[in-house]
Symmetry: C3
Subunit: 154 residues, 3 copies
Amino acid sequence: MLSIVVEHIFLLVIVTLISVLQNAFFATKVEREGKEHNNKTAFERVSCANRNCMDSYPTFLAVMWCAGLCLNQAPAAFAGIIYLVARQKYFVGYMGQTSQSTPGFLFGKRVLAFLILMCIVGIFNFLLVRYFGNDYKDTMETITNAASALLLIP
Amino acid sequence: MLSIVVEHIFLLVIVTLISVLQNAFFATKVEREGKEHNNKTAFERVSCANRNCMDSYPTFLAVMWCAGLCLNQAPAAFAGIIYLVARQKYFVGYMGQTSQSTPGFLFGKRVLAFLILMCIVGIFNFLLVRYFGNDYKDTMETITNAASALLLIP
Amino acid sequence: MLSIVVEHIFLLVIVTLISVLQNAFFATKVEREGKEHNNKTAFERVSCANRNCMDSYPTFLAVMWCAGLCLNQAPAAFAGIIYLVARQKYFVGYMGQTSQSTPGFLFGKRVLAFLILMCIVGIFNFLLVRYFGNDYKDTMETITNAASALLLIP
């Protein structure tokens, strides 16, 4: 039974693994800065960047998995990768700065909005199938696959 | 295959989506307060409220999904909605206060306790079915549906 | 349908429940210290320990569930239990200390690495089955079950 399930989620699992490795990278950075002790502001900065990333991490995971389960895993995993890249950029940008011009508390808003949209479309489609018998799922998946490419535009 | 799965989780997905939107609302509040700079205590307060909410967010998600998968999604999603209302009240109450009489670190304890109870009942029932062949699942679901209405009592 | 699913995840659900109860225990500790007010450093310490635990909680949950779904739930749940014990030790150790010789930002690295390895093996095996038709899953599960006992070595 489970191998059927794995077929539908393995891309999501891979993205989750990458995000976990990224978390470990962030935590290592924070730990190393904390041990040095000679640069208080740098530790503050890294710690703050890490906390912002961690605060939005469960939200990201929940939305990505919901989108992947409700509609299709491929665009959800792709959007997840884009999100991870945005997070990496955010973390590195936060670390390197000397001025406090932080790039904002939130990041990757567009990706999250896209994933939320995917969830809504998936549930809406499911309700349509259940109560009206129409099935636009294939059409939806094609559109979503095409739309996910738009996320690459900066 | 997945459309069968979606039938059993779509209410949970909807509640998850609502909670994500609420998170975004909280984060926006924090960002706006952080930009104003003229009110330090207000920012402290909002930031603290946001962190408390975010700290318990993964716990809530995990319990709600487990309860929904193990027993039945309808009462789990209903309890989730109640939890989100309690969180909203907590956040707004934390923000508006001038004195530090915070309503406690934890909130929605009753809802979480109810969801944990649902999980335990679901697993217990599954083990009963597996090893003894009894199936009280229908009875349990009816009782849980009725019991979830008790959560409305403040 | 769902009872088939529950059969494959009930150990994971039990571990998740235990972790939730542990979270509640940590939060209660923090709340009690916060109410006493006469010991500022103790509150700082407990709060910091709690935050470190909470920061890595979503990561742990994600990895455990992925490993449980991709390969087998028994070793994943066992590793989860080991992780919870490590976390308990970390929290208690953090609380009782008078000096700031914290046992590091990360804990349970070995358990997380084992779970990540399980995920990778599971996905790799799935891809092998899909594209080459081999199925080493039974072998893998036996090896993983045996390897999970190695986690007990301190």
